[in-house]
Structure formats: C-alpha cells, structure tokens
C-alpha cells in the first residue's frame, strides 16, 4: 500500500437482517491494483459485504468510497456510472441463459458501450481466447457448457469491458481441483494484465494463496484479522489458525442459519 488513497475504502459498515447483525462494523481498505481476498466460513457475511459494495444491497450504516467517491447514497444514474468500473464473476457464473455465450461476454459492450454487433462479437471471441476457450464456444448456449466452462465465460464477461475493479464470489466453489487451479491462474493473470483492483471472497485457501496480495478474515460481521498473504500461516490469530487448519475446536462457533 502506498500513500495514494485506496481504490475502495469501507468504514464502519453495518447491515442487519432482522435481529441478526450480518455486518457489524467493517473497516477495510483495498489499494489500487491490489488483490484482497476475504476469507471466512459460510454465513459470516462475505456475500453481503460484496453485495453492499456492488450496491445490490443497501447497507444500514457506514460508508463505502470507490475511487474517492462515496457510493452508498448515490442516485440510480450515478450508480450505473460507477458500476462501469466494475466487473464481477458470480459464484454460479450467473450467465444469461437466454443469450448465446458471445452475447453474454459482450453484454457490457453491446448494451452499455453500444458497440456494433460485429465488433462486439469479435471482441468477445478475443476475450474468450484469453480465458482459454475456442471461438466455437461463442455460439453455444450457456446451458450447454460444463461448470468450469461457465466460470470461464463468467470471467470473460467480467473482464470484457476492461474494468478497474474486479469482484470474485467463490470463484472455485463446485469445481474439481484441477479446474479450480486453472480458474485461479486465469483470475491472477487477468487481474495482473488489467492492472485491476480485485476483491474476492472464498473459503478455499488454495485459491486465496494464489490470487491474494492481502487476506482479510471475516467472522461474525467483523474483520478479525488482515495481513499479507505470506503471513497467513503464522498469523498468531486463533480464528485464522482454526480456519486454515480446518479444526472443529476453537473460537469460531458455527452458525446454522444462512445469512
């Protein structure tokens, strides 16, 4: 982290669902071109944190600054402007199954940048190549692809508009270890090539080690530890130790209900 202001600055972020405080005062900075991975068990509020930053959910209190601009109270149009800096890979890829693969990849180019269809298609095929998919895939329907292929297309869609900030929601969940590693490699490479700021949430430590510069651990709506990925193994933090060694015994109590 340098002296320049961070790309994403989150202060005292709160979000509750009824009596349950899912986010309970989150402070987190993500520097420019830095890759931060948020780890934590299921139901610790990782997804909610991501959705708050993306503006899909409205936080109850606290501030989120993107590139120096406070975004939690933005108008719809201003929000859409900010969103153009973002690319996101969803857990289930969330491809539009009514559109062929290439239109999925080129969605932002077609609908937001208003590129001509031929040009958008050429660009989509190029981006598909970057994630290791042949041009024939372009005309398939998303439902015809395997889970790993869908993740690649999702990644291609996220990077097609060359965003400044990339989000990854459980990028390796549901993939076999080899495909997971392929996706991790692709993510690390895409982020580097774009010089993008990246925020990922995962409970897959292999994935975290591969794509993170810095790791933050979320537990019960708070960041209980953060530090460079190299120090993950000897953090001295009991929460982190329990999590990375996968022990049932320790300070982390399992929550049954989903957040």
């Amino acid at each position: 982290m340098s002296t320049t202001e961070p790309m994403i600055r989150i202060r005292d972020l709160h979000k509750s669902f009824g009596p349950k405080h899912v986010l309970d005062g989150i402070d987190l900075d993500v520097g420019r071109a830095e890759s931060v991975v948020v780890i934590g068990g299921s139901g610790t509020g990782k997804s909610v944190l991501l959705k708050c930053i993306l503006g899909i959910m409205q936080p109850d209190a606290g501030t989120i600054e993107i590139d120096g601009q406070e975004v939690t109270r933005l108008s719809r149009r201003a929000r859409e402007e900010v969103m153009q800096k973002f690319g996101m890979l969803f857990q289930g890829a969330a491809l539009f199954d009514s559109l062929p693969v290439w239109e999925n990849v080129a969605f932002g180019l077609l609908q937001v940048r208003k590129l001509p269809r031929a040009e958008a298609r050429a660009r989509a095929v190029e981006v598909l190549g970057q994630v290791g998919l042949p041009p024939e895939v372009a005309d398939l329907a998303p439902a015809e692809l395997s889970g790993g292929m869908q993740k690649r297309v999702g990644l291609a869609r996220a990077i097609a508009t060359q965003p400044e900030i990339l989000f990854f929601d459980e990028p390796t969940t549901g993939l076999d270890p080899i495909m997971a590693d392929v996706i991790n490699e692709l993510i690390a490479r895409s982020v580097r090539q774009l010089g993008a700021t990246a925020v990922s949430i995962t409970h897959d430590l292999a994935s975290a080690r591969k794509i993170a510069d810095r790791v933050a651990m979320l537990y019960q709506g708070k960041i209980v530890w953060q530090g460079p990925v190299a120090t993950l193994a000897d953090s001295g933090n009991p929460y982190v130790d329990q999590f990375i060694h996968g022990r049932a015994e320790g300070p982390i109590k399992l929550d049954v209900r989903a957040a």
Partner: protein, 257 residues
Amino acid sequence: MNPLAVIGRVFLNFLASVGDLTLFAGRAILHGVSGPYYPRMMLRQMVDIGYYSLPVVGLTAIFTGMVLALQSHTGFSRFEAQSAVATIVVLSMTRELGPVLAGLMVAGRVGASMAAELGTMRVTEQIDALTTLSTDPYKYLVWPRVLAGLLMLPLLVLVADVIGVFGGYIVGIYKLGFGPHEYINRTFEFLETQDVVSGLVKAAVFGFLVALMGCYHGYNSAGGAQGVGAATTKAVVSASILILTANYMVTEVFFSR
C-alpha cells in the same frame, strides 16, 4: 391467539403487499419510459405474448362463440326471440368474454412463464449480474414485458372477437338454421364502436396486469426452486383475480350511466 390480532395482521400484510406492488409498478414505468430502450427484448416479448398466444386464444374464442350461440338459442327460443342470438354472441364476445377469457388464458400462459423466467434469473443471480453490468433490470427485463403485454393483448382480443363471432356464425348457420345474410345483418345491427373499444381498453389493462404480476412475483422470488414455483402460482392467481376485478371497474366506467 387473539382472532382480532390475526385479522389485523392479515390486513396489514395485505396493505404492505399492495404498497410494494404499487412501488414496483411505478418504478417499472418510471425507469422504463426514461430509457435506454432495448428493442430486441421488446420484440421478443411482443412475439411471445402476441404471436404464440394466438392458438390458445383462438381456440378459446371459437368454442366460446359456438357455445354462446347454442345456449342463447335454447334459452331465447322459449320466448320466440331466437333472432337475438347473433346480437348476444357479438355483444358478449366484444364486451366481456373476448377480453376476459383472452386475459385469463394469457395469464396462464405468459404470466406464468414470466414469473418462472424472472424467478430463475433471480435465484441464479442473473438479475444481480445485470446490475453489475450497469443495466437496470427494470428497463431490461420488466418494462419490455409490461409494455408488450399492454400493446399485444388488445390485438389478441381483436382476433378473439372475430373468431368468436365466427364460431357463433358456424353454429347459427349449420345447426340453428339461420340464413348467413340474416345472421351477419343481426350481428352488426346493434353493435356500436363503444362495445369493441371498451373490450380493447379492458384488454390493454389486463395485458398490463398479467405482465406486471408475472414480473413482480418473479422479480421478488426467493428460496430456490420452491420459491420459483410459488412465484409462478402467485403470478397466475393474482393476475386472474385482478383481471376479474378490473373487468368490473372498466365496465362501470364505460357503461354505467
């Protein structure tokens, strides 16, 4: 539990749903009219609602027209008033049965599929994905459907009116022994522009309601496959009830004086 409290809670929940639905409709219209527009999505919905509903609406209309002719004949022949059959068929079709039956059939066909499609998009995060791609789901998903419903149902009802009258004509000529010339004259004798126009206005209202309920329940569905199933049921049931309610209201506006 206190039964009064139960009644109160049910009533408050009902009011909350009405408010929520009104906000949804307002947002769909406000976001929709301000653009950008998605003509491809619009065209796809218009074809789906208008063109692909033709067979089911046509079949409904022809059998309704036929049974109307038959039933009114058996009834009115007791008073030697068989000559009213053609008038009854055409007025019933254009004023009431055309729009209501077409609306109900489209609610079952289109409203259900909208709720299922948007519901699946919701639970698989496709709607969130739209937002991350700087695309407003109200503009991209809801508005094209609502507008297509509003525009296409009147056209469907116009076709249904013609087919329904034709069904009555078939029965009238080949079963009840009317002369073709006589039947057609009788059909147009008492038919006024307002009869057809009121039916088309109804159709526009019903089309709007069907698409709105499909989108609303799909958009707000939660809880996986079960939630999508529940959304589909709710979309069809609520659209059907709203159609019957709105039917009375529009009739009141047009014909009560």
